[in-house]
Amino acid sequence: MSCLLEARNLRGLPGGPFSLRVEAGDCLVISGPSGTGKSLLLRMLADLDENEGEVLLRGQRRESIPAPAWRAQVMYVAAESGWWAESVRAHMSAPDEAALLLPRLNLRPELLDAPVSQLSSGERQRLAFIRAIIRRPALLLLDEPSAALDPDATAKLEALVMALRAQGTGFIIVSHNPAQGQRLATRRYAMSPGKLSELP
């Protein structure tokens, strides 16, 4: 049985070669100083930047899948979320599903119809997470997912991550918070310039 995601000899902007494996329900947590290319590594896996190397999703090579279909499965959620329409609802592929998830992340239900410009950075971050998970990717690449969240909202977010993992979704999370790594990770990695090393 092939694993969920496998990357071999990935090279690109942040250096390399990087190799890693994610099984269904796995959660890899990557930490390391700023500027070492953690975000760029996630972007490479989502094929958002030019890169070389082999990446397979359930044994299927990346090149054999159209890029949008690949990203719908291997989904990158940026630290700074981008919004292209005025209202939050317009960004949700399944607004009804999104509405059910809002309270699970301490968000008021009205926010679904609020204009994006009125959201706080923490609300944006959580809504960007919801926007991603309702599309049901196989794997989520989260870049600093709780950077703008208070401890209570962070706990809610982590609970949702755990619930999705139980359903088989894989995660690679970039986090500066060591305690978060302890709580969530099945494996932990440290990134230094151009290099990724597994922590015991």
Binding site: A46, L48, P68, R71, Q73, M75, G82, A128, R131, A132
Partner: protein
């Protein structure tokens, strides 16, 4: 149509007005007299030169010569269309993206007009082909240059929003759709304004010229209507083409946003 001749006395009135403006600027320290005089000198030299050249071209009425004049006009347009972009594509793509749709759509519309509506004899007669190409090219150039300027600036500014769509699994067309639609709108607003205001707020340039030259107002109006339609068609076609090329160039085969293919313009 009987042209109304302008005497050198008439021209000296215009010259006196320019000099008077420059003198006022000097006396009031407005510091525009230099720019004003240079612009006037350029205008006079350029227009007299064009008049002289066109007189020659019209008299010789040789298709090759007409084609040469059109080629020079097209080359100048290709250079000007992207000259004032805030951000532009690197390398030759800059000229291809702006120039090719501008020249091709202008050519298409001009040939269409010459062979159907206007029908001068022969259809490539310089007296019709050159001024018609000029007015169409000028309008199309404005539309394309507005479209591309808006598109590249907005793509740069809205990078996070565009990449958010790509990251969620939308294709490049979908991700750039909003920005491209706004760019097209921006490109067509001047032409639409011109059409909406035609005759009520402003008298279009061609019609003014023809009225001054003694043409019947209704005939002049019909010419203007034809020209407006041609200009809108050519501008729309060229702006859509330029935006399609630009959209393809700032993304790649794997639907990535490639802003590294842009560089800041010369200002």
């Amino acid at each position: 149509m009987k042209p109304v001749a302008i005497s050198s006395g008439d021209l000296s009135i215009a010259a006196a007005l320019v000099l008077l403006s420059a003198l006022c600027s000097l006396l009031l320290s407005l510091r525009v007299h230099r720019a004003l005089l240079i612009a006037t000198a350029r205008m006079v030299v350029q227009l007299l030169l064009v008049g002289t050249v066109l007189r020659l071209v019209f008299r010789l009425s040789h298709p090759g010569l007409t084609l040469l004049v059109l080629a020079v006009m097209a080359a100048a347009t290709i250079h000007e269309v992207g000259a004032r972009q805030e951000r532009r594509l690197r390398g030759a793509w800059h000229y291809v993206t702006g120039g090719a749709p501008t020249v091709m759509s202008a050519l298409l519309i001009v040939v269409l007009a010459l062979t159907t509506a206007l029908r001068p004899s022969p259809w490539y007669d310089a007296r019709a082909a050159i001024p018609l190409t000029g007015i169409i090219l000028g309008n199309v150039m404005n539309a394309v240059s507005l479209a591309l300027n808006f598109f590249f600036s907005a793509a740069w500014r809205e990078r996070a929003a565009i990449e958010a769509r790509l990251a969620l699994g939308d294709g490049r067309r979908q991700a750039l759709q909003g920005v491209a639609a706004q760019a097209l709108r921006t490109a067509l607003i001047p032409t639409i304004n011109q059409m909406a205001a035609a005759g009520v707020i402003t008298m279009p340039g061609i019609m003014t010229g023809q009225l001054l030259a003694g043409m019947d107002p209704l005939v002049a109006a019909q010419y203007q209507i034809l020209l407006m339609g041609l200009m809108l068609g050519a501008s729309f076609l060229a702006a859509v083409g330029a935006l399609a090329l630009a959209g393809l160039r700032i993304t790649d085969q794997r639907d990535r946003l490639r802003l590294d293919r842009l560089r800041p313009g010369k200002g």
